[in-house]
C-alpha cells in the first residue's frame, strides 16, 4: 500500500499547473488541496492507456483547480492581471515552473539512461564530501587535514542518509537536497583541483610541474618550479653517474630559464633589518645579502643557489644535506630516475664544484 510509483514528469507538470491556479489562496489552503494529489494522480494516470494526455483525461488544469475550489468551498479565482498579482506570488509561480521543468528534464534523462539512477548514491556521498569544504573554510580548519576528513566523512554520511529518505517532491527537505547538490556541483571542480595539487597529482609521470596557477600559496602566479605541490626554493643537479653538477642553468621546452622566484627566497633573507630565521627557528647564519636598492644579491638562475660565502651545497632550507655523490643509474640508457627516489649518499669525495659551460639556448630569462 505504501509503494507508490514515482510520478511521471507529466503528472508533476499537471500538478504544478493546478497549483499555479491556486496561488491566490493561503499557502495552507493550497497545501491542503495539493497535498497527496501527486500520489493520487500518479495512481490514476497508471490506469490510463499508455500515452494518454493528462489534460484530455482530467481536463484542463484551470478547470480542475476550479472544481477543487468549488468542492472545497473556497472562493473562485479572481481574474488576476500581472499588475495585481503580488510580486511574491509571481516569483513563487516562476520558481515552481522552473523546478517542474528541471525535474521533467531529469526524468527524461533517467528514462533514457537508467544506469544514472544507480549512480545516485555515489553522488550523494561525493556531495557530502565536497560540502565539507564549507565548514573547513569557515572554521579555518587546515585544508585536507584530519578535521577536514572528519567533516567529509560526516558530510558523506549525512548526505547519503538525507537523500536515502527520498523526501517527497516539492518539500523543503527535497529542495534543500537540490540546493546542496547545486552548491556541491559548483564547488566540485575547484575542490578537486586543489586536492590534486595538494597530493601532488600534478601530471602523469612526474612530480615537477610549472603550473603554479593551480597551487594556493604565497607565490601564486609566479614562475618557479613546483615539486609535489610545493615551491622549490633551490635545485641540486646530479649527472647520470651520480656526480654533483655545479652552477647549472636550466631551461624549459620554450627556452625559458628556470629561476627560483624572489618571493620564495624572501623568507630566508633579511627583511627590514631583521635577520630571517631558518626552519629550526634559529637566525640564519648566512642570510641572503641584499643590495642597497633592496633587491636580493643572489643569482636566481644558477643552481644550487648561493650567496655570501656559501658554496650552495650546504644543508638546504628543507633540511636535506645534498650528498657529494648519489647512486649511479643502472645504465646510461635506463629510464630516468623517479623524481621521488631519495638519492643515497656516497662516501666518494670526487667531483667538486666545476664550471659548466651552458649550451646557451638564447634564453628569454625570467628574472
Amino acid at each position: 500500500m505504501n509503494q507508490i510509483a514515482t510520478p511521471t514528469s507529466a503528472v508533476r507538470a499537471y500538478v504544478a499547473s493546478v497549483r499555479a491556479e491556486l496561488l491566490d489562496l493561503a499557502p495552507e489552503d493550497v497545501d491542503d488541496l495539493i497535498g497527496g494529489l501527486e500520489a493520487d494522480l500518479t495512481e490514476r494516470a497508471a490506469e490510463l492507456p499508455e500515452g494518454t494526455d493528462l489534460t484530455s483525461a482530467f481536463g484542463a488544469p484551470a478547470a480542475y483547480a476550479a472544481e477543487l475550489r468549488s468542492a472545497a468551498d473556497l472562493p473562485p479565482r479572481a481574474p488576476v492581471t500581472p499588475g495585481q498579482q503580488s510580486f511574491l506570488a509571481a516569483e513563487r509561480a516562476r520558481l515552481h515552473d522552473a523546478e517542474v521543468s528541471w525535474r521533467a528534464r531529469g526524468d527524461a534523462l533517467q528514462a533514457r539512461h537508467t544506469w544514472l539512477a544507480e549512480l545516485r548514491p555515489v553522488w550523494w556521498v561525493a556531495r557530502g564530501m565536497i560540502l565539507a569544504i564549507v565548514p573547513t573554510l569557515v572554521l579555518r580548519v587546515p585544508l585536507f587535514g584530519v578535521g577536514f576528513w572528519l567533516f567529509a566523512l560526516t558530510g558523506a554520511a549525512l548526505s547519503f542518509w538525507w537523500s536515502r529518505r527520498r523526501p517527497a517532491a516539492a518539500t523543503w527537505s527535497n529542495r534543500l537536497a537540490i540546493l546542496a547538490s547545486v552548491v556541491a556541483a559548483v564547488l566540485a571542480f575547484p575542490v578537486a583541483l586543489t586536492f590534486m595539487a595538494r597530493v601532488g597529482w600534478t601530471d602523469g609521470n612526474g612530480a615537477v610541474s610549472a603550473e603554479p596557477q593551480y597551487y594556493p600559496g604565497p607565490v601564486m602566479g609566479s614562475d618557479g618550479v613546483w615539486v609535489n605541490g610545493e615551491m622549490a626554493t633551490n635545485l641540486y643537479a646530479y649527472d647520470a653517474n651520480g656526480n654533483r653538477l655545479d652552477r647549472v642553468r636550466l631551461y624549459n621546452q620554450y627556452g625559458q630559464a628556470v629561476a627560483v622566484p624572489t618571493e620564495a627566497l624572501i623568507p630566508w633573507s633579511q627583511q627590514g633589518g631583521t635577520i630571517a630565521t631558518g626552519p629550526d627557528g634559529q637566525p640564519l647564519k648566512n642570510p641572503i645579502l641584499m643590495k642597497p636598492d633592496g633587491s636580493l644579491d643572489v643569482n636566481r638562475l644558477v643552481f644550487p643557489l648561493r650567496w655570501g660565502d656559501l658554496t650552495g651545497w650546504q644543508a638546504s632550507s628543507g633540511g636535506w644535506e645534498p650528498p657529494v655523490k648519489i647512486s649511479e643509474l643502472p645504465a646510461a640508457t635506463a629510464e630516468p630516475a623517479r623524481p621521488d627516489a631519495s638519492p643515497s649518499p656516497s662516501t666518494s669525495t670526487s667531483t667538486g664544484p666545476q664550471d659548466q659551460t651552458s649550451p646557451s639556448p638564447s634564453p628569454s630569462a625570467t628574472s
Binding site: 497527496g36 500520489a39 493520487d40 468542492a71 472545497a72
Partner: protein, 110 residues
C-alpha cells in the same frame, strides 16, 4: 435529469459513508465511490470535498510516506464526522422516502 448535479448535493454524505467503513486516501475514496455506483463523481470534486470536511472538523488526516514516490494523504472519520453522517443520513433517508412516495403516487417506475 443530470446525475452529476444530484451527486454534488450528496457528496458529503457519500464521502462520509465511505470513510465510515475505513480510512482512505483521495483516489481510494474516488474508486470506492465509483465501485458503489457513483460513476459520475469527479476526482477534483472528491478531493475538494475531503478538504472541506477536514476543515469543518469532520475528518482527521495523516500522511503515509512512501519508499519510492510521493507521500499519500489519508483521511479518516472522527466523532464529529460520525455525528454529521448520522444526521445527514437521516435527512437523506427521509428525503428519499418522500421522493419515493411521490414518484409512486405518480406511478413512475423506479
Amino acid at each position: 435529469m443530470d446525475a452529476t448535479q444530484l451527486v454534488k448535493g450528496v457528496l458529503d454524505l457519500a464521502v462520509l459513508a465511505v470513510l465510515a467503513e475505513s480510512d482512505g486516501y483521495g483516489y481510494d475514496v474516488v474508486r470506492r465511490l465509483r465501485t458503489a455506483g457513483l460513476e459520475e463523481v469527479g476526482d477534483a470534486s472528491v478531493y475538494g470535498t475531503l478538504r472541506r470536511l477536514y476543515a469543518a472538523g469532520a475528518l482527521s488526516s495523516y500522511v503515509v510516506p512512501s519508499d519510492e514516490g510521493p507521500h499519500r494523504k489519508y483521511y479518516g472519520i472522527n466523532a464529529q464526522g460520525r455525528t454529521m453522517l448520522a444526521s445527514q443520513g437521516k435527512t437523506w433517508t427521509e428525503f428519499a422516502h418522500t421522493m419515493e412516495s411521490l414518484l409512486n403516487t405518480a406511478k413512475v417506475a423506479s
